[in-house]
Assembly symmetry: C2
Homo-oligomer: 456 residues x 2
Amino acid sequence: MINPIAIENVRPRTPDGFPAKAVTGQVVTVSADIFRDGHDLLAAQLAWRPKGSKMWQTAPMSELPNHRWEAAFSAADVGLHEFVVRAWTDAYATWRKGALLKHQAGQDVAVEMEEGALLVEAASARAKAKDRAPFEQAAEMLRNKYLPVENRLEAAEVPEVLAVLRATPAKKDLSISSSMPLWVDRPRALFSSWYELFPRSNGGFAGTTKRLAALAEMGFDVIYLPPIHPIGVTDRKGKNNTTTPGPDDVGSPWAIGSAAGGHTAIDPGLGTFEEFDALVEEAHALGMEISLDYALQCSPDHPWVTDHPEWFHRRPDGSIKFAENPPKKYQDIYPINFWPDKDEDRDALWRECRDVLEFWIERGVKFFRVDNPHTKPLAFWAWVIRKIQSKHPDVLFLAEAFTHPKMMARLAEVGFSQSYTYFTWRTAKQELAEYALEVAQGPASDYMRPNFWPNT
Amino acid sequence: MINPIAIENVRPRTPDGFPAKAVTGQVVTVSADIFRDGHDLLAAQLAWRPKGSKMWQTAPMSELPNHRWEAAFSAADVGLHEFVVRAWTDAYATWRKGALLKHQAGQDVAVEMEEGALLVEAASARAKAKDRAPFEQAAEMLRNKYLPVENRLEAAEVPEVLAVLRATPAKKDLSISSSMPLWVDRPRALFSSWYELFPRSNGGFAGTTKRLAALAEMGFDVIYLPPIHPIGVTDRKGKNNTTTPGPDDVGSPWAIGSAAGGHTAIDPGLGTFEEFDALVEEAHALGMEISLDYALQCSPDHPWVTDHPEWFHRRPDGSIKFAENPPKKYQDIYPINFWPDKDEDRDALWRECRDVLEFWIERGVKFFRVDNPHTKPLAFWAWVIRKIQSKHPDVLFLAEAFTHPKMMARLAEVGFSQSYTYFTWRTAKQELAEYALEVAQGPASDYMRPNFWPNT
């Protein structure tokens, strides 16, 4: 059985049932096509709650042109929410409109007045006993054939009577949309100003800490650090991408891992954990935060390479496959094989990747800039973001994805809080206007938050 | 766990999971957005079958620009079908592209050739023992380091080897869309030429039978008769919608039912069941068919009014509510209350309405022109059309719906085979072009079949 009333095309939503997105305090406009057979007038209501709460909050929906209805709400807390759209036939409004039209056309409306009185009495039965006086009075007036019809119709237009008349659907008529999931983030998921710096160029963590006040002064609120982990030595890259580094070449920070550790270690050249903690603390004190790079790849010297060779692609000659985009080679980086042959190996790998996030969340990092997420499985992102956010709903993920539009939208759908955009490729007025409309109002605007910063 | 490969936006489909539509022999183009992480090449396949069949038929999908893929099929039989889109990583094509690029860039590809040989050997294991010779030969050539690389790459390009290499997904990588339902009708659901006539003006059924050959000659294939049932006498309408009919006024054929019977009876003035059967038979003999009007409403004299007063709206003065659109009154017609208070009354009513269709289907009528479906519940149409078509998949329903576009699309979605359109309201070139594009390619074109005939 489908709903007696059609409730279609509810927004916000994602194409495949993942949560749409909002931030705390944001006005979320919910809209839907609502209509039924015949000419009766309808009423509709938006209901929402944090997922798992027993109490719904509600707001009446307003009718727009072309059978579209809408209402707005805002969520106070981060985390998963749900909303539904409810619709029913407004028996009172339908009755009143018909009775008035007939009276104005000079028709006898004695039976209509009795029908109205019965509607009011039925509503009275749903009010508390102590509140029933205005209902009884209204029903009596509607039946008073010695008064002009206009006055009798006026008599039911009492706010406390109307409130009950209009808000109470007949059970057999009440129609309810599917439960629509909405993930609510903290406000920086919607808007934040990022400053990227290499701690190595700023006197390590200690020197970087001293720069924070000036960055806060400029209005930045997120300080993003490229990978801060130990850098591999095997096949380290030198100047201009050569494979012959000099003794002072530090290599690419994205070639993560050495004998000093992997994704949960700090490059000794940048400072200590105590200095890192002090950096995070100072950022918080200034109303800012530190974002780390989450780059899931390894140098040949990463501990995972020896401890878990099954997490990498092995070639017929026994070597591990390094990153390449033929004919380009990145010998200093091993991509991870997210789909090892054995399911238990995959489970262990994915959990380890999750634990890297947990490690830094524990140290106060709540915003991750994710390196090239479009080169790792969508299934992994759907899993790891849900795992982390269900425990830490204030953690945010920025997708460093410069790839095709459908992939960018899909990464946002499966959970990324923010995404890069093609903004920097648009230069003409019309291109900018079209693109701004697309990101502000297009279908993906329900869940994709384009970040307009021009840095990669 | 979501699919390793994203398969999105599959068409044809309806917004809420009802079947999309096709007719037998029609070329149905299935398309989807298909992509995965990284740069590996993909393969995709369309699979379809009549619902309930154990065997899938398949066709390879081709890649279009912007990650869209498509393939086409056509169904031989009417009834419910299902299709899925399958996608996997094309390991062979990915390998070959990379090996060639590296070789062309002057890199050593000895390990790549061994990888290729292993891919071919893995494919060989999936071929029948007697078919393995070309695989062994290809693997041997790939490993033959005395030959130029181009020749070795060429050696695997043998049709029977390629067919196995390309068609066999790795199990952990195979991604499958949801099952998509498709309802397949006979061809007249897509295109038919209708001729409407009143048997009363043509000498009843016997006279109408004589006109059929001339109508067939003109190219018509559906002869539509307004209601042929007994007409009520209570509050019968006279000329020009007056309520004072003369003795020769027959009333509106849509005021269905009298002492002579209701929706399963024939107005005695039109002929006998035998004459009706002869009319249907002659139409079939001429390659045409008879369509009846399915108008779910009653005159005050319809047998249902006395047998089932609970199927109508009763007013406080004890009268049954007649049809009205205030201040307009249609005293000769009682609308049906499709939602009686008791569920068992509703079940009995809906079944009776279904049985009316069964009655005429039994007499050879397979096409119903449904009167004002937008004034009866969508839930009823979803139920009754599914009930009828699951037993008689060749029965078709035309929605006589001149109402707002969302309702027209929704009626098509819940099951109507054909619908009216706004064609006759479009007159300018641009209006016509836009509308033709909308009905031919817009989202509703997957399930709504607009009938361009200008008659209501």
